[in-house]
Amino acid sequence: MPKLSAFIRSAALAAVLAGLANPAAAGDISSVAVPAIHGTTPVASIHPRPSQSVTGRSEPPRPVVAKRGPSPAGDSAAGKRLYWHGATASGAPLQAAIAGDAAVAGTQFGCVNCHRPSGFGSSEGGKYVPPITGPILFSPRQLNRNRIYTKLFEEAQPAGFAADVRMPRMRPAYTDQTLADALRKGVDPAGRKLDAQMPRYALSDRDAANLIAYLKTLSAAADPGVDAAVIHFATVVSDGTDPAERAAVVSTITAFFDWMNRATHGYQSRPGFSPYHMSELASAFRHWQLHVWELHGPPATWPQQIQRQYDAQPVFAVISGLVHGPWRPLAQFCDAKHMPCVFPNTELPRTTNTDYAYSLYFSRGLTLEGEVLARYLGRRQPQADRIALVHSTDPYGTTPARAFERALKTEQADARIREFAFSDQTELNAAVRELASAAGNFDALVLLPGERVNAALTALGEWRPGIKVIGLPSDALTSVQPGKLGTLAGSLLFAYPYELPSAYHPRSFRVRQWMHAQHLDIAYPRLQFQTYYALTMAEFALDQILDDFFRDYFIEAIEHEAENNLDIGTHPTLALGPGQRFASKGAYIVRIDAAAPGGIRALSDWIVP
């Protein structure tokens, strides 16, 4: 496995030392003010749709280049719509030609497709797409080996790719005029033709000015949470979580930070503090500083609490975490700040408007479980079309219940659902008792107990409704005691959005070994392995972006790394793509089987609703 981290860690020290030796150089970075816009950006529209107004950190633009020539003043908000959606000022479709073909009109060649939200470009399928951030475009081309280092040495790419990436493509700084020429005619300021795959755009003067205004702001202002020596990360824990689980998550994170920093500090003992042949990468090395943000009270008050913490010390990203309640308020905070929130442990992620949002999740959680139960029951033969849906009124009950109902309607338009909502144990017991007396009226029972898992299982054990199929969410699996249910245990099935215990994931052994080496008690393997995965995503993404500490670029690196053999075995596969926010997309339906590995047996294939 390609690995830079050890060197990165060592270089963090080098950066510290460089800063000490040369305070002026360090000050160049650390004195960059946190742009106030990060605290004030509205939540809506992270990225604009053509019909919406544009908000985000492009307002007010922070020009890279001081005032330029007499070209028409560009509207960077309009430029952002063009960059993202190919939306022109006149509303006419954007016209572009690629590879010498005739021009096509449409949105498929919005700049973001290849150059990405950060403007740092991409490399895929042997195609190298160079960075076009403001500072890069409007400076003379400088040979920076670090910008291509990971592409050369960390990516599997076909022959010829490396040569393409190494092409110097020297050119002077773009001006508004030469940039417009490049966009229209595909010629750079050195007179060199751009790659054939770079579309040639038929841009109006207005559109060119708008786009250029936006490009000047693109990844131009430093993102908060990083200085010359330290990168700040936070994790979030809330009231209502199991103290032992919370401790397991936090201790895993702390151990990882200590491990990273120990390797960094280890270089202090080396003569000359040299990170050996990686010295060119010294500028990328940082000490990792953890901030544990504790949240109290109702979720609606979390954003204000986090804001206070953030004001005290902005962080570059939030990694992992464990909260009780919906992630939505935190997702909104992350979006407002344009701050990555990397793989929190939550069963209630925000599942709408997620493309290119700033929270990355393992799966859609209980929404997914509700949908998978519906898919399984809806396609079962003989069909279960008389269904009792018993759910609690807390978010852990209503979220999968709504998802179940929605999904069942698309599976079976004529399904009849009898709904029982309960808000306390008395209502729960009454519902289960009623079902037990009328079991013949139902083909299936879906019981979504929310926070009352144990009470629900007790009620099932007491009245034992004689319904052939009883569907439950995955978190009931850890509490179920088959002995107390008698023959009813055979009727239970569970949504299970995880890897089966019988599966083999080589990396899980390495992770376990690492935890043992850190003297971590592995009391909650899934939780701790997921936490470890979130941490490795941050680690590997920083390896990719080196010292270009931009949050969008960081997320793009995670999108890229998520699928890269870092699977820790909690899910069958973990993978993202550009703009994707849920790394695992499906679930099994399982039942209890004492003879099977881990005590469960799959009844279904991996279902992706």
Binding site: A102, V104, E124, G126, K193, A196, Q197, E563, G577
Partner: protein, 218 residues
């Protein structure tokens, strides 16, 4: 002149696993001369691609189209009409927009050259690419009635990619390669093309594939 006509040699069989080891890739020149790399002087960066003939055994899998309907791939490919296949994913940056634009721009001319044909874009990110997402992607590329988009179970898609020697390195879809597969009839070999083609290149290759199979080309 048809590039295909300049190729001599047998139709290479690639065996049941579809590995292209026996296929002989060669660079070829849009001008029809076997002159190695086709560095077109007219464009800054040349369009470069390699083409090879190969036979593939299509696995017995059932995929799902953009309308959510089941599609048996082997049955689809056994129909007596020319087919053109590519692998894409809808959230892809960089190469899929180029691949799909080539199909998109070629549609009208393909229909003119030989009335019936089938374009197939198979998602290599099937768990994300639901039929709804495929339908939106199809719309984005103005896909007509002859263009089908397929998704399916991850394992099934992987078996199709294996069969077509389209597996990417490192199990990371971000490293997938630009591939086109052209075939005139079920009993003729596939032309496997790796690299970026202009629409005109695709049409010329298609013309050659049809001609080699003795099909009437308008």
């Amino acid at each position: 002149m048809l590039a295909f006509a300049t190729r001599s040699g047998p139709a290479f069989s690639a065996g049941h696993d579809g590995m292209g080891a026996m296929a002989r890739p060669h660079h070829h020149d849009p001008g029809g001369e076997m002159a190695g790399m086709s560095d077109m002087s007219g464009t800054a960066a040349a369009t470069k691609y390699t083409a090879a003939r190969a036979n593939y055994t299509v696995p017995a899998v059932t995929l799902t189209d953009a309308h959510g309907r089941p599609v048996r791939l082997a049955q689809l490919l056994s129909q007596p009409r020319p087919v053109l296949v590519q692998f894409i994913f809808t959230s892809c940056t960089t190469i899929c927009p180029l691949l799909s634009t080539t199909f998109s721009q070629a549609q009208a001319e393909l229909g003119r050259m030989h009335g019936d044909y089938q374009l197939i874009s198979i998602s290599i990110d099937p768990e994300y690419d639901t039929p709804e997402r495929l339908a939106a992607y199809a719309k984005r590329y103005n896909a007509g009635a002859h263009w089908m988009f397929l998704t399916g179970q991850a394992g099934d898609v992987r078996s199709v990619m294996t069969a077509f020697d389209a597996l990417y390195q490192g199990s990371n879809k971000m490293y997938h390669r630009p591939l086109f597969y052209l075939r005139a009839r079920p009993d003729t070999p596939w032309l496997r093309i790796e690299g970026f083609m202009q629409t005109a290149d695709l049409l010329r290759e298609y013309h050659g594939v049809l001609g080699a199979a003795g099909l009437a080309v308008r």
